[in-house]
Structures are given as C-alpha cells and as structure tokens.
Point group: C3
Chain length 374, copies 3
C-alpha cells in the first residue's frame, strides 16, 4: 500500500492562518450578480453590484405583485396576492417606538492598540468603514445613541408591538438596506427581507427613504434575538456591522441588574480592507477593547450571546456556571450564526474574570474580554 | 515586537472560496487503502479502491468470525462469537416493510438554472452521477418512488419493526453498499456497517445482492433520524446522495398535516466532478429548486432538518419561532452531521417565507428555499 | 452576467486535505508576542516565546497587584485589591486530594500502526513529545498513574473541595503552566489562568514550582467537565495533551458501572512536528488504538465526551440512543471546544459497536473506536 498521506507542506506560512483560520471568503448574491468577497477590495465590487439592483416591481403597486415581470421564470402563487394589516398591541400592551437609521461610520477594532489580557501591544491600524444601526430621537431629530457596533438593544414585553421607524441614511453607499428581526412575529410586509421580485414593502429601503416596521411580541418571542440587514447586500453589510439585538420579556418581568448583548464575529480583510483578521466581540478585539462587563455579588446577571458570522462559537466565563434551557449546568455552551445562548445567574463570585470564546483560535485572535465582579 | 501577522494575501481569488469555503477535501479509508478525495477525478480513485475490497471472511460463515484471518492483528473477542435473533414486533406492533434499492442516477442540482430568491440565473451545468436509495414495490417488481436525493422517508410507530428489503442495484460501480439507520434499535447483523473482518451480514451488500434489515422501534426511537450508506466507500456514497430519513412516532400518534425532511449538505467538485460547489437542501441548490414547502394556517407543521456533510449548520425560517426540545423558543437552531433538529409549530402566519441555513456562506451558495403559507 | 464562479482548481492535492481539513494553523499570544503556529517547527518558536515570559509582578506580593507596572496601560480596578480565602468543604463534605504534575512525555498516536476498523496499516511514525498531567502519590513520592493523554479523571461530590497539589515537572520546556478547571467554583487565586499583570497565584507555575489549587463542588458543579492548561502558552500545551476531566456527583450518588471520558481532538503537524494530522480520541487515532470501551448488558454506562481543539464534533455510537439533558432522544449530539456531552444509558444491546465522531472527515482520519458489549 502506498503512503496515503503526503507530507505536510512546510512552506505554509502565517498567511495561511489569516486565510484558513479566518475563513474569510464568502459569496454575495446581489441582484443579478454573484460576487465573491474573498480578498481586500472585493467589498467594493459587491457595493457596486448592490448599487445596480433595481427597485423590485412588486413595490410599485400591489397589482404588480400578482403578475411577474415579463421574461422572468417566477410563478404567481396565492401568497403574492395576500394582503396584510399592520398589527396592534394586545390589550394592555404598548406600542414601543424606536427611530433607527443605517449609517456608515469609521470604526476602530482595537482602540487601545493593546491586549490587556496578555499585556501586549496590538500593532497596526484597525480602523475601517463600518455600516451600523444608530438610534435617533423621535422624528430622527438627533442622535440618541452612537453610530456603533452593535446597534441599539430594543426592549419590549409580550403583548407589545415594537415599532421601528427606519431610515437609510447612507451617504456614500448607494444601496438598499433593511432591518430583519428574529424572534418577533411579523407579516411579510415587515419581514425586512429582499426577495427579488417577491419583495414586500419593508425589504428594500433606498438611501434617503424611510419605512416603519411593526413587529409583534407574542408569547413565543420571550428571549433575546438578533436583528440584522437582509437587503440585497446583506451578508456584506451584516459582516461590517449592521446588527443588533432585541429582548422580549414576560409582561411585568423584572429586568436583570446586569444585562449585556455580546456578538461573536470576525472582521476579516475582504470586509474591512485591513491587513489582518480580528476575532471580535461587539466589533472590538482583545480584552480592554471588548465590553468590560461589571457586576456586584447578589446581582442578577444576563448575558445574551449571539453568533454573527460564518463560524460556530462557544462561550466561557471563568469562575461561573449556569443552567441552560434544558436545566443542565454548563459553562461553555455552543452558539451558531444568529443563534442565541443566554448566560443567566445570580452573581456569587467576586474577582477579575476572563470571558472568551473557547474556540482556541478565536480566543487567541481577540475574542476575549473582562468580567469584573466586586 | 515584530508585527506578528503578515499581510492578507491579495492574490487569493474566487477560487479560494470554492476550496476553503466549501471545505471540499476529505479522506476515504477504503479497505486496504486511504484515498484522499480533494479534487475532481478523485472520486474515481475511491471507487476503484472500493471495487477491490474483498468480501470479509466473517461473512463466509459464522465460525470464521471467531478466528481472524492469518496475518492480521485482529483480536478475537467474545463479541465475535455472539449470535443474534431477528427481532419481532411488540404485541400490537406491526412489521412495516419497504423494498429499497441502491442505484446510480443522473441528478441535476439546479434544474431551473435560476435562483428564484434573487431572480438571478445560475449558469453552468449542474448534472452529475449521484448514488441514491430508491423505493420499489414488493419484490422489487417496479419503481415506487423516484431515484432521487434523498431516499424515501420511512414511517413507523413504537412497537413496530421496520423491515427493509435492500438490493444493491449498482450497474457501473462495482462496490458493496449498505443501509445504516440512526435512532432505531438493531443487533449487529442489521447495523449495516462495514467493519473489516468484523463485518456482519448486513455490512457488505455487493452489486446484485439482496439483504433484509430488521430494525426495532423502541420507545427511545421516537423522533426523526437519518439513514445512510456505511459500506466500505460510505463517505463518498453518502456525500453523493445515499441518505434518507425515518420517522418513528408514538403508537397511534397523529401525523402532522405538513411533514418534510430537509437535508443540509454540500455537493462539491471532488464528489460531483462539476466545476463548482453547491450548498444544497435535498440535493438541490437555490430557491425554486430546493423543496417548496406549503402549509395553510391552522395546520400542524413538522420539518425534520438533518446535517449530512462535514459542516455544522443552523436552520432559520422567516416569520416563525418554535419550542425546541428543552422548551426554549428558537428560530435558528444548530444541527451537526447526522444530527436532527425538528421545527414544530401550528401555522399562524400566512405569506411567502424564506427558509435557509443561517451560515451566511451556505445560504449564499444555494442553501435556501421557499415556505408558502396561505 | 459573467460566470461568477471560477473553475475548481484541479491542482489541489492531498496536501490540501491535511491543511484545510485539519485546520492546523492557530495563533498563540504568549507574553509580549503573538506567535503563529502554522507549520512544523513553529511550536519551538512558541516555546521560546513562553520561556521569556516574566513572572507577573502581581505575584511578587499582594501590594504590587494594586499598582500596575510603570509604563503599562493597565487600570487599577477594585477587583485587584480583593483578597480571597481558601474554601473548606461543606458540612459532611470531604477534602479530596490529588497530586498531579505536568511532564513532557513521548507519546505514540497509533501504537498498533493499524486501523482495526478497516483492517488497514497506518504507515509512518506517530510519536511526538506530548505535554501531559500525571497523577502522583502523596507528596509526589512516586507515579500513581501514567504520563498519558488525557490526565487523570478527578472525582468528587457536591459539598467536597477538590485539592490539587500541582507541580510543574517540565525538564526541557522552560515555561510556566497551570491547571484551569471547568464546572467547579473557585476564587481568582485558584482560577489557574495567566492574566498578564493581573495574574493571581495559581496562574503561573514555573518549572520546579508547586501550587495547591482548591476548588469547590457546588450544586451547579454536577456533571463532567474538562480541565486544561491556561498558562502563558496554553493553546499549544493543551493541543499537545495537557487536559483531563473531573466528574462531580450528587452526594452519595452511585458511580456508573462503566464510566469513561473521551476527548475529541486533532493532533496536527504544527503541534506534533509529524508529517500528517490525526483526528484523535484521548490522544490516539484509529480503532484499536483509541479506547476500547467494554460493558455488559444491564450495566449503567456513562461516556463523557469533550471537544478539545478548534473544531466542533458530534458523537455517535452504533446500536444505541439516549436521552439528552432536554429529554430528547439522540444518538449523535454535537459538542464544541471544552463543552461536554454525556452519553448515558443502561446497556441492552450486545455486540461489537463502532463509536465515532460523525464529522465524516474526522471519522475517516482516526476519530473512531470500539465499544464491546457482552
């Protein structure tokens, strides 16, 4: 029998790590084109393709939706003829309103240029142009929150409707974007997804346009969920920062004293144009830059952890363990793309604790942070 | 400190995506050889190796199993001397019989040559030679189902035995295959696994041969499970289509109005000989080609989702959320290779909905489909 | 529209499998350096970097911890001024003591040079220098267990404290190591983690030094958990064998008749210096080398399965299915890095059974073994 396995290639280099370990390449199907985003500069190609995506005919008028555009292979289904009404709160429920805009913003992944865990400098520039959700005051009068990764955390209770007045405030990027939520109930108008010629109203919001989404908090919505862009260029936009979270509680439920949403995701060269990949939490890499979570003994702590890239992760906090939804005790639960795992305990263990993804190659490329308990 | 991270390689190309993103390479240990299936054409090498695998001596007669072939390092264990009886149904249970054959078939991954989600053409040929399980009428008299990916869904209740009359009807591929089920109980004769010299009767069915598997539906079998080839060339055969599902219910349990098995898997060049990778659901890629699932408001819906490649996936349906087995509300649960996650709800939300793997690079390479609710 | 997808590269070779499939490359941040471990020989660079890591100032004396070293960017937090007392057992609980040392050892991945599943030779040398935890008698007087992968399994009950007298007995490697446990409760002194200038006593044990860890078994510690190195070079040390498990039971709970810890992990060229990658269970690859688990009908069986590399796995045993922590019946549950899934059933099915990771490319590169039931 011949040796079935050739020698390991001794010429593989650090470069391999950034490419293989980072799994940076991905495809974007954008309107009529499929664009491979695999190297620095490819994001511009995806953006150019997105700028050419035409407003779907279904958005011109309801009648159009019942007849596919000439020359396309689309089949008319009864679903295209269905119309929907905007939902209202349940008796006793509220209309919880937010004003949120999509904006481009300069974003720095390692502002301290340091890894505070290992007390080591992180050289090089880590600033790129992110696309994010920014919370505004009523009527978009002024900024209410930062233009930051992640977007604002939306809060509501069962029986409420979440009403998001959304504006595409992109200045340079000429492309439609949306808000697509998980967990809540919505009809197709408020799905916030581009579906080609089947696109409904909320699925294609062009620069300068506004749209109001109305989402129902049903009993099955209890929990923490992500939202993200689902427009024609959504993979790229999501990867460069267009995501956030929403938390739905039982009516009257108490809010934990410490509550934090933590998104695990990479920022890689094809997306950022930077020279290296970073394994991030909330757009930041390395302890001291990622969120510093603080709690005191006796406080109820809830950390909502989301995957927000192509990878699977698992989340560990030193010194702690908790019950998962099945009632088992865990300290390193897995979480996939757009999945949520919630860490939930009453704090009983003071100290400086490390939290990190337990995929070693993620942890070692920045996916770690501090949890400080007094 | 030197810059620890070299620049990202600007020469990486689209080609990288297909290779790295698709993770196409895998090893097959086939009889006396280990074959690397990493590029187009390698499947033929694996098939050639499989054709040389000799009938295991243990199959010649029971006595042989107690004495390893001369010159091998195998140790005789009491397990090799154990004999087994074919199980019968429990009182009140049934013998549920199927006739299934393994066949090669031409299979087209994108029959419409279109992605109906993005209204975009998918150019190029997507036809290759798949290996599949086909349902036949009693005695293999005629085809009862198509030669298709996936194979037939088998249904039974607790207390039944599932009896599969299996035939290897390969014409060109000269190799043994099997059926290995998950979830049900079986003794080693019906395990359907090639184990070298420890192979039992059901683990090596050569072209032209038949074998009858008998599997028990015990109380712990309730659920949906995959089955797949586990013969000497099983990784390659499974990857090119030899898989299906079986569903075991409690005695007398109602069948959901809408029930569908969805396999998430890639079809990559080393397996298909095609020029590119596809991220598939049930052997098809891109909305309009993948299963169009239909339901009406008020119907009970059960979608059994299986991983069937080397990757981990997570499954999202727009507009819906449901209780997982732990009682938590989810809308994007993870699923690993040969694991099952079942989406289960009563339909309450009409519309055209997208379902997809939420690994962005899978979704964007075809792992998406339509769910239409009136 | 241009063809968006270039042809699959026909020059990709077996070498690709070892690199891509094995995902061998990873980064180590070691003291003031970030070292890429991506090819054979890189481990030596990581070890050289680790040898230069200075004893953290916080370890010199408690006062020092309240004042960061001059010139660093570290912020003094109240957490640095907190002091901790060594915990005692709960009333009725015990002090369960272990003596464990870290040692280098020659380790052979495929001692039989055979895959007993496929009855095939596995050519080439598979011996490398591992770093492992070895159990010793009281006072480190003599070896109590082998220097092996994995380290000893520690057993305790709720209310106990586990006391580990730990010694760094490295001879050639000049670097600090630790023991970091999952699942149990500990204060920061016993976290066993290097945290740069925030390092507490148990986080930096140099060659020749000893340290005694004290860990509490609280009610939420019930289950099986991994422990591993978390010193300055912990990713490399963990990858080359510094891990083991601990099992905490309810007070007075019976020990299953068959109980085994199974670690799923790869050993790849950058770590071992060998020519190929192996997908391992407990440091061994291919059936006949991996643990042979034995049970008899009627016995209670518990297999604790841990991920211990950068990959996600899922664990299948032929002929069996069991209840997961959510009460669902499974036979192939997923497990991520440092996560645990426990297989738990009463044996009722005699035979020679295969167990394996169901990621096909892992199973086919050695991650499989025998489970023999009489």
């Amino acid at each position: 029998m011949p040796d079935p396995l050739e020698p390991f290639d001794p010429t593989s280099s650090r470069r391999r790590f950034l490419q293989v370990g980072a799994a940076g390449a991905f495809l974007c199907t954008i309107g009529g084109e499929t664009v491979s985003v695999a190297k620095r500069g490819d994001a511009a190609k995806a953006d150019a393709a997105a700028a050419k995506v035409a407003r779907p005919p279904s958005l011109v008028g309801r009648a159009a939706a019942t007849k596919p555009a000439a020359g396309t292979g689309a089949k008319v289904e009864p679903t295209e003829q269905q119309t929907y009404v905007t939902p209202s709160p349940q008796p006793g429920g509220n209309r919880v309103e937010y004003w949120i805009q999509a904006v481009e913003t300069k974003w720095t992944i390692v502002p301290s240029k340091r890894d505070d865990w290992h007390d080591v400098k992180i050289p090089g520039t880590s600033t790129f142009t992110a696309t994010v959700y920014q919370q505004m005051t009523e009527g978009f009068a002024a900024a209410l929150g930062p233009a930051a990764i992640p977007g604002p955390t939306l809060h509501a209770e069962v029986g409420d409707v979440i009403v998001v007045h959304f504006r595409n405030a992109f200045k340079k990027l000429d492309q439609a974007v949306t808000m697509h939520p998980h967990g809540v109930k919505y009809n197709p108008e408020y799905d916030g997804v581009y579906l080609g010629q089947y696109t409904r109203a909320g699925g294609f919001i062009e620069p300068g346009e506004e749209f109001t989404y109305t989402w129902e908090c049903v009993p099955e919505s209890v929990g923490a969920w992500p939202y993200h862009d689902h427009g024609p260029n959504h993979t790229l936009n999501t990867f460069r920062g267009m995501f956030g979270s929403l938390v739905v509680r039982e009516k009257g439920a108490l809010v934990p004293a410490v509550e934090q949403s933590l998104f695990l995701h990479q920022l890689q060269p094809p997306v950022t144009g930077l020279k290296r990949s970073y394994q991030c939490i909330n757009g930041r890499a390395y302890a001291g830059n990622t969120p510093i979570v603080r709690a005191r003994v006796g406080q109820e702590v809830a950390l909502h952890v989301f995957g927000m890239d192509n990878n699977f992760h698992d989340f560990h906090i030193h010194g702690h363990r908790w019950k998962d939804s099945a009632g088992a005790f865990v300290d390193t639960p897995s979480v996939g793309p757009n999945e949520t795992t919630t860490v939930h305990f009453v704090e009983d263990n003071p100290g400086r604790w490390l939290y990190h993804c337990h995929v070693f190659s993620h942890q070692d490329a920045g996916m770690a942070g501090w949890y400080l308990v007094e």
